[in-house]
């Protein structure tokens, strides 16, 4: 297939043309209504919107919909796209596994970009004084580090959910395969917009983009920032809708809710948040955008705008969003521990429902981000209570994980190492939480490096380590090959040790008085040494990630051919040949037992067979209703 026919390149080409058309149309309209022809901001915003729409046309992801609208039937997307080999991943496909990998690769790519930003400003911060960055450049880098990482994590969450959920529940694809592809591809123009902010004056309000700072019209970058996040949010909402429908409607016969793999439970909880809360950040960002482009005054203090309104709307999504980032990772931990401990997941129902509890309580805690914003005390106190309540279901998870490995038969391949590392780091993140939840202590540590250390621990323990664990664990299924165990372990130790140094010293410097988001720090604080350690540790973490990325890329080509079900897992996805494209299960299976009955002789999870059985040899009941 010629490169210009591949969706990615075709889309980008269309995007360029679309942006140009949007710019021209806006100029014409402006002339028509008697405004000066050139005003960069509105013109570029409309241009970018046109560009994004043109991108979607260019990829052809919407072609089937248009055909349906014209009354033309299209065949079910059967055996994947026309593209072969690596081109498969930059071309439109409706196969949830391909889309999952597309999400995963994009996520790794942009997380690396965000990580690179961090390396740049950590080099600057290795010693006091401004060395090579301007304060504006620094502010842009930290803002983009935050928002691009958040985009990357959302994509990574979608990667795991998309690839795994249909396989785990015995569905052949998602409920809405075309919508699924649409939700992935809309992220590409969004990422282009986010990164374009560097060329448009930068953004200097942090990833939170609080107005009125973000309403500074001298920085057009902000409009691209808000628009980009808006589109990623759209993708989140559509993904949530699709996954919830899939989980509710397309489970294999016999798979009651309490027989679902635990990762499916955590995905369900996650996607309920995605579907219902994302609108709020979309709304708040849209209001800022209207302030900027149409001169409205929602958040303009000089015209009676309310800057706290933005914070309420923003955090009403952005706190639950934290659980969108970590719940799937916690699901991965719960999913992998039984396999490597050869023991049932301790208290399966409690673990499953704790995800739902976290998702629910997560909606009532947003204002703890605003304890120093100037809320009345009678509001700060109830939010202390609700925030601390999150510790209860989270604690259930920790205790249940401990119960799972207790008296098990543990083995320590790379995925298990990452899972254990994830537990310890997420524990560090979780336990550094309560000081932020009680208002009095939060008055000291709000907006300091303590918070930076705290949320990096939750993100590494709740997302990054589990994501890497999942990537290694399902690598044989995805590629049919085995990764390098040796390099896997080297990468793990680099990341684990590097991270502990980074996070602990961040927390300490924060307590000592180091504010977050500062381009330079006061030597009088006495944190020069700690800041140097944080920088070095950050580079070690980066090196560990580089080892991971290199390992999977090289092993995908040259790794040893993997044996069937190398982990002796009970989960159904391991009982089909690998790698598999197109439809997942030739014959539908039936769920006949509990998912994690390791150690129970003769018990099977599915009719595909038990741990020792060869793949798919059992009698087949009625086909499951799909799509």
């Amino acid at each position: 297939m010629r490169f210009y026919k591949l969706s990615l390149f075709r889309g980008l080409g269309f995007m360029l043309v679309g942006t140009f058309i949007g710019v021209v149309i806006t100029i014409l309209i402006r002339l028509l209504i008697g405004l000066p022809a050139w005003n960069a901001e509105p013109i570029l915003v409309v241009g970018a919107l046109f560009g994004a729409i043109a991108f979607m046309f260019g990829t052809r992801v919407m072609d089937d919909w248009f055909k349906w609208a014209r009354g033309i039937d299209t065949p079910e997307p059967a055996e994947d796209s026309e593209a072969e080999g690596w081109k498969r991943f930059i071309h439109v496909s409706f196969d949830h596994k391909v889309i999952g990998i597309q999400y995963g690769l994009t996520s790794i790519l942009i997380l690396s970009v965000a990580g690179l930003f961090a390396m740049i400003f950590r080099t600057e911060l290795a010693q006091p004084g401004l060395q090579f960055l301007t304060p504006d450049g620094f502010n842009t880098l930290i803002s983009l580090h935050g928002i691009v990482n958040i985009g990357g994590i959302l994509l990574g969450v979608a990667a795991m959910a998309n690839y795994l959920v249909p396989l785990m529940i015995g569905a052949n694809d998602m409920a809405f395969p075309r919508l699924n592809a649409f939700a992935y591809w809309i992220n590409i123009p969004a990422i282009v917009m986010l990164l374009s902010t560097i060329l448009l004056g930068g953004v200097d309000a942090g990833w939170t983009g609080y107005p009125p700072l973000s309403e500074n019209l001298a920085k057009i970058g902000f409009s691209m920032f808000f628009l980009g996040v808006y589109l990623i949010g759209l993708s989140s909402i559509l993904g949530g809708l699709n996954l919830i429908t899939t989980i509710i409607r397309m489970r294999a016969p016999g798979m009651s809710y309490f027989r679902m793999p635990i990762f499916v439970w955590s995905t369900l909880a996650t996607m309920i948040i995605s579907l219902t809360a994302t609108q709020l950040i979309g709304l708040s960002f849209q209001m800022v955008l209207f302030d900027r482009v149409f001169g409205m005054d929602f958040f303009n203090p000089n015209q009676g705008g309310n800057v706290l309104l933005f914070q309420n709307l923003f955090w009403f999504y952005s706190h639950p969003a934290v659980y969108v980032f970590v719940l799937p990772g916690l699901g991965i931990i719960s999913e992998l521990l039984p396999v490597f401990s050869r023991k049932p997941l301790f208290g399966y129902r409690w673990v499953a429902l704790s995800s739902m509890a976290i998702a629910l309580v997560g909606f009532f805690v947003w204002a703890h981000h605003m304890f120093t914003s100037g809320m009345a005390d009678f509001l700060r106190v109830p939010f202390t209570y609700s925030t601390l309540l999150v510790a209860v279901p989270t604690g259930i998870k920790f205790f249940s994980w401990t119960g799972t490995i207790w008296r098990g038969k543990l083995s320590f391949q790379t995925p298990m190492l990452y899972v254990l590392g994830a537990i310890s780091i997420f524990l560090l993140g979780g336990l550094s939480g309560p000081p932020n939840a009680t208002v009095a202590t939060d008055l000291h540590i709000h907006d300091t490096y303590f918070i930076v250390g705290h949320f990096h621990a939750t993100m590494f323990g709740g997302y990054l380590f589990p994501f890497v664990a999942a990537a290694y664990f399902w690598f044989p299924l995805i590629t049919g090959r085995m990764y390098s165990e040796r390099w896997g372990k080297i990468g793990f130790w680099l990341m684990l040790i590097g991270f502990y140094f980074q996070s602990l010293f961040q927390m300490q410097t924060g307590l000592l008085g180091m504010r977050r988001r500062i381009a330079d720090y006061d030597p009088a604080l006495g944190v020069d040494f700690q800041q140097l350690v944080v920088s070095i540790a950050g580079f070690v973490v980066g090196l560990g990630l580089l080892v991971f990325i290199t390992n999977i890329l090289v092993s995908a080509k040259r790794g040893q051919v993997a044996e069937q079900n190398p982990w002796r897992s009970r989960s159904p996805e391991w009982y089909i040949p690998t790698p598999v494209w197109g439809h997942n299960y030739e014959k539908p299976f039936e769920v006949v037992g509990e998912p994690y009955d390791y150690g129970l002789e003769g018990s099977d999870y599915t009719s595909l067979g038990g741990v020792a059985d060869t793949p798919a040899d059992s009698a087949v009941p009625e086909p499951a209703a799909a799509d």
């Binding site: 304060p135 620094f138 502010n139 309000a205 009125p212 700072l213 203090p301 000089n302 800057v307 706290l308 401990s341 050869r342 023991k343 049932p344 301790f346 120093t372 914003s373 202390t384 209570y385 601390l388 510790a391 209860v392 259930i396 920790f398 401990t402 119960g403 490995i405 207790w406 098990g408 038969k409 543990l410 083995s411 320590f412 524990l427 336990l431 309560p434 000081p435 939840a437 009680t438 208002v439 009095a440 202590t441 008055l443 000291h444 907006d447 300091t448 300490q508 307590l511 000592l512 008085g513 504010r515 988001r517 381009a519 330079d520 720090y521 009088a524 390791y598 150690g599 002789e601 003769g602």
Partner: protein, 494 residues
């Protein structure tokens, strides 16, 4: 075989069962009388707490029942042809889960039953078990095994031993981590009354962190070291699905703890906001990127925050542009400065140590956020009074000195240098009377008129290479006289 023997055998088997749950019994015999007899025998002994979960009459049924009913004990009719005991035992040997089987005969009249006890042991348990055997060498092993010598005992002992050892590890970790958390320097000097309840709360947090971190990490590390899979061992671990009682405990205990912490934390908040009847009122005004402190009682405007020690200051905080945040780490408390009318916020601080500190803006506010600092001087009451005296003293006759004072009060020098160095705004050194290129391509002579215009309407003529970031409101705040003084000051910088 006499029924009496069966009774004793069964009761000893029951005591072996370490689980608090009922003993699940499966009876395998094709003779209905055999099964019913055993069953009614069990019912008559409620203290044994058994439940007959099934009665099967063929080998196939027996196999199905093993899989589905998970019995703890199977009583097999030794003489039954339909329940082929050899085949049954062959399957029994293959299995892994915990299961006991009693075979006994009604026909052959002996006083003995045959007991099989199937278990999986870790290597350490096997050692214990072998030790137990070697101690008993020489003696013929009695059947059925006496309760105090059952292989079940070492297992329970083992379980306790694991818990005790892991508990010791956790205890050591708690002591160690708490020692670290209290030895390492974690908080700056405590320089305000409000810092005390906050630091007490931190201390409680540190204890909780030390205990909980050590608990989970200790159990994890112990498991990683002790419960490793041995080389070549392809079997699964014990089939433990969970324990609802434990789950309830580790739901309720944390719940009670967090409720306590929330309550304790709220009380601490109350202490930090407690009001003195006669505080010193100060207005704190944040502007990109400078601080202004106004003392309405004395009519003083200052860029330094000067406070008398041991007197509560009631800060009235506001911003002229974007959100800033007032924070002196040594005082602990923090409050954002919000722009807009009706968005003034209050904060109470009672300094308790004479000394010099810094206000550090804690909310990202644009380019020079990192550098938005202001000195804080906590003085004794006498020194403070002297400072007030000096500030409110007669105004200088020299317009240059008056102008300098105005520029300091309004924070002009945060963006305009007086020594020619590059900052956010054009330097004032030598600027008066010079020709400056503007960003619309024209140029202008910097004279009195231009300076007035730049202050009153800062967005119109902007020097090339700069943006208009003059704080809103400055133009309206300054009087004509003050601006004349500022011009005189700028003119003096040659």
């Amino acid at each position: 075989m006499g029924i009496r023997n069966v009774k004793t055998n069964l009761s000893s088997l029951t005591t072996m069962n370490s689980s608090p749950d009922q003993l699940r019994v499966l009876i395998a015999s094709s003779h209905p009388l055999f099964a019913q007899g055993i069953s009614s025998l069990l019912e008559k002994r409620p203290e044994m707490d058994t439940e007959v979960v099934g009665m099967v009459s063929t080998i196939d049924e027996a196999m199905d029942a093993l899989k589905n009913l998970h019995p703890d004990l199977v009583i097999v009719d030794y003489d039954d042809d339909q329940v082929n005991r050899e085949e049954f035992l062959a399957r029994f040997v293959e299995g892994e889960g915990r299961l006991r089987v009693v075979l006994f005969s009604l026909k052959e009249g002996g006083d003995e039953a045959i007991v099989y006890d199937r278990r999986t042991m870790a290597a350490s348990q096997i050692e214990d078990w072998l030790d137990g055997l070697s101690q008993r060498t020489g003696e013929p092993e009695p059947l059925p095994v006496e309760p105090d010598e059952t292989p079940e005992q070492p297992k329970r002992r083992d379980s306790m031993r694991h818990l005790i050892l892991a508990g010791l590890l956790v205890a050591v970790l708690i002591v160690g981590s708490y020692f670290l958390l209290t030895t390492i320097e974690l908080l700056p000097e405590q320089a305000s009354l409000q810092a005390k309840p906050i630091d007490d709360l931190f201390r409680l947090d540190f204890i909780a962190i030390a205990v909980l971190f050590s608990l989970i990490i200790g159990l994890m590390v112990y498991s990683i070291v002790v419960f490793r899979r041995r080389k070549g061992d392809e079997t699964d671990g014990p089939h433990i699905e969970g324990n609802s009682r434990l789950e309830v405990v580790w739901t309720l205990v944390p719940l009670l703890f967090v409720l306590f912490l929330a309550y304790y934390g709220s009380v601490a908040l109350g202490k930090t906001t407690a009001a003195d009847p006669q505080p010193l009122r100060m207005d704190v005004i944040g502007t990109q990127w400078s601080w202004r402190f106004e003392y309405p009682a004395y009519g003083i405007i200052s860029t330094e925050m000067v406070m008398p020690v041991n007197k509560q200051a009631l800060l009235n905080l506001s911003s002229t542009d974007v959100i800033h945040s007032f924070w002196v780490p040594e005082f602990r408390v923090k409050q954002d400065l919000l722009p807009g009318e009706d968005f003034e916020r209050e904060l109470r601080v009672t300094p308790i140590e004479v000394g010099e500190y810094k206000v550090r803006c804690a909310e990202l506010c644009g380019r020079n956020h990192y550098d938005m600092l202001a000195p804080v001087k906590v003085l004794s009451q006498a020194d403070f009074d002297a400072w007030v005296e000096a500030q409110t003293g007669p105004v200088s006759d020299d317009p240059v000195l008056r102008g300098q004072a105005v520029t300091q009060q309004y924070g002009c020098l945060a963006c305009h240098s007086t020594d020619g160095s590059e900052m956010a705004g054009p330097t004032w050194l030598g600027v008066y009377g010079s020709q400056e290129a503007l960003n619309d391509g024209t140029s202008v002579t910097v004279d009195r008129e231009y300076i007035i215009k730049s202050i009153r309407e800062p967005g119109i003529q902007i020097v090339a290479g700069f943006q208009n970031i003059m704080p809103a409101g400055i133009g309206a705040d300054l009087t004509d006289e003050q601006i004349e003084d500022v011009i005189a000051f700028i003119e003096s910088l040659q």
